[in-house]
């Protein structure tokens, strides 16, 4: 077992031309925690996620995963290391079935090459069997079994969000990054979601790092919270610390009517 935080960013900065989207962000996420990154729109939260998952390479600063420098790796390499993510504006494989969506996420652990796969060698058949079982299990777990053969885009919105999480889990991550998992959900669904996040965290032995706008969800499930505003980290700590921080109230909670 590695010591120290599972994810650590050391003063990462992202500049787009003259705009500084994220400035000097230093975050630590410890194994088994649920950590939230909050902040008003345009604060740079998704940019931070995109740097961690390799979509952008930070202009400066370093990112460590399990003590290993992962700065500048490609997204697929980072996923392979054990960081999976969802997207703010759901990016499912829209025209493929629910089952295929999850199966595809198993592909990265496949050992067979394309020839032995196409020629259905025994090793591949075994692996395919295993991937199917795993995917089916995930789909059941997420209550998507009856939609298994439906086209992903035909699912209701809430289930699409669920499917996206299921798909992320199929990559067998240790760290799960959720980008606004409760976006577009009503209070009841949000409540269910927070229970669900806890459940999968325990069951799959995950660490969760999430971006969220629903304050009740964040305050309820997060062990620790980082608050961003205009790319700067303005507060960090437990829900209580953050809620009472005057800068946070000014920049965010006060304006947002505690929505």
């Amino acid at each position: 077992m590695t010591q120290g935080p599972i994810l650590e960013t050391k003063s990462i900065t992202m500049r787009f031309g003259g705009v500084v989207a994220v400035n000097n962000l230093s975050i630590e996420v410890n194994k088994g925690e649920i950590v939230a990154l909050i902040g008003p729109n345009g604060a740079g939260k998704t940019t931070a996620f995109n740097m961690i998952t390799g979509v952008y390479t930070p202009t400066s600063g370093k990112i460590y995963y399990e003590g290993q420098d992962i700065t500048g790796l490609r997204p697929d390499q980072i996923t392979e290391k054990g960081i999976a993510r969802t997207f703010q504006n759901i990016r499912l494989f829209k025209k493929l079935t629910v089952f295929d969506n999850v199966l595809i996420a198993c592909h990265l652990r496949l050992k067979s090459n394309f020839l032995t796969a196409a020629l259905r060698f025994r090793q591949y058949r075994r692996e395919e069997q295993r991937m199917r079982e795993q995917s089916l299990e995930l789909i059941k777990k997420f209550g998507l079994e009856k939609y298994k053969d439906d086209i992903a885009s035909s699912l209701p919105y809430g289930l699409q969000r669920r499917l996206e999480i299921a798909r992320a889990l199929a990559t067998q991550p240790k760290l799960l990054l959720l980008d606004e998992p409760a976006a577009g959900m009503n209070p009841k669904e949000t409540e269910e979601l927070s229970a669900f996040i806890r459940e999968i965290k325990d069951e799959y032995n995950l660490t969760v790092f999430l971006i969220e706008h629903h304050m009740d969800l964040v305050m309820e499930i997060s062990d620790r919270i980082y608050v961003l505003d205009f790319g700067e980290t303005i507060a960090k700590g437990t829900a209580e610390d953050v809620q009472n921080d005057p800068r946070v109230i000014e920049a965010y909670l006060g304006v947002d009517d505690n929505a």
Partner: protein, 353 residues
Amino acid sequence: MKKQDKILTVILLAALFIFLIIANLFLDAYIKRVLNLCAIYTILALSMNLINGFTGLFSLGHAGFMAIGAYCVGIFTLPISVRPANFYIEPMHPAIANVELPFFVALLLGGVLAAFFAFLIGAPVLRLRDDYLAIATLGFSEIIRIVLTNMQSITNGPLGIKNIPTTANMWWIYGVTLVTVIFLVLLISSSYGRAFKAIREDEIAAQAMGINLFRHKILSFMIGAFFAGIAGGLYASMLSTVDPKNFIFTLTYNFLLIIVLGGMGSVSGTIISAYIVTAGLEIMRFFDEPLSIFGVSIPLFRPGLRMVIFSICLMIIVLFFRNGLMGNKELNWDMLRGLFSKRSKRIKGGEAR
């Protein structure tokens, strides 16, 4: 696969086998040639659909890859004894002048070389800006033709190569086509095929799911090029000649029409469409002949009309029937059964009334 489906598949293959025996015995040479061409176009269109339809890339290099395979077979299966008669302007380069390969080996070599060239073009383009693939492959296709025209001592230049042994009879061509279809169907239904489709649907999501975009794109591109090379080899052996003019880049548009009509992302659609388009292009030849009805000559019918109609068809399909025949669905036994049972029900219903 269900047991009943397995039986049906075996029956289908047996039917194909019997058809080939009958075709070989009774059909005239022209019809046999069209049928062979249909099969070769099936390989070409299917391999292009792997790249364009299943992986979502846009390659227009198939005529070029095909040319590589065709010349490989042309050069290496040409009997050494007839080489001087072919290469009369400039003798064959000494390095290959005495190399003669069995047809099968030359065919494979052609495929491998085509895949190798696909790697050379694909590596820089697919790594960086794959929306330039169309232009890079189209350019490549033309360059291959230019190179073939200029390398007199290897390709015999603009004269082409004649008297290539016609090893590729109907059995060879249908055999290779069948193997290709089976291989590609298996590949597409494997985890790799799913990864290709994921890239087509959403690259960013696919990459976030751990799929190495470059490796999978180049894989699909190279496999597609490999089969285009194989098809080219069959083509050369079937025609017994190769000529750089056969492989002008607009040839690729034939395969493009096939996959657009059949459905980008449908194997069965592509196969059906390959037969429709290939046979259609043959039948449409009469458009290019002067036509007179009751002694009145119709001025519209003259050389070039066929291709005008061809390009209008392509436009109509892409503008109004974007999914083609099959979209990205596949024809399978269940679907056929559904079709027939619906029809029989309807007939029964009609009788009852």
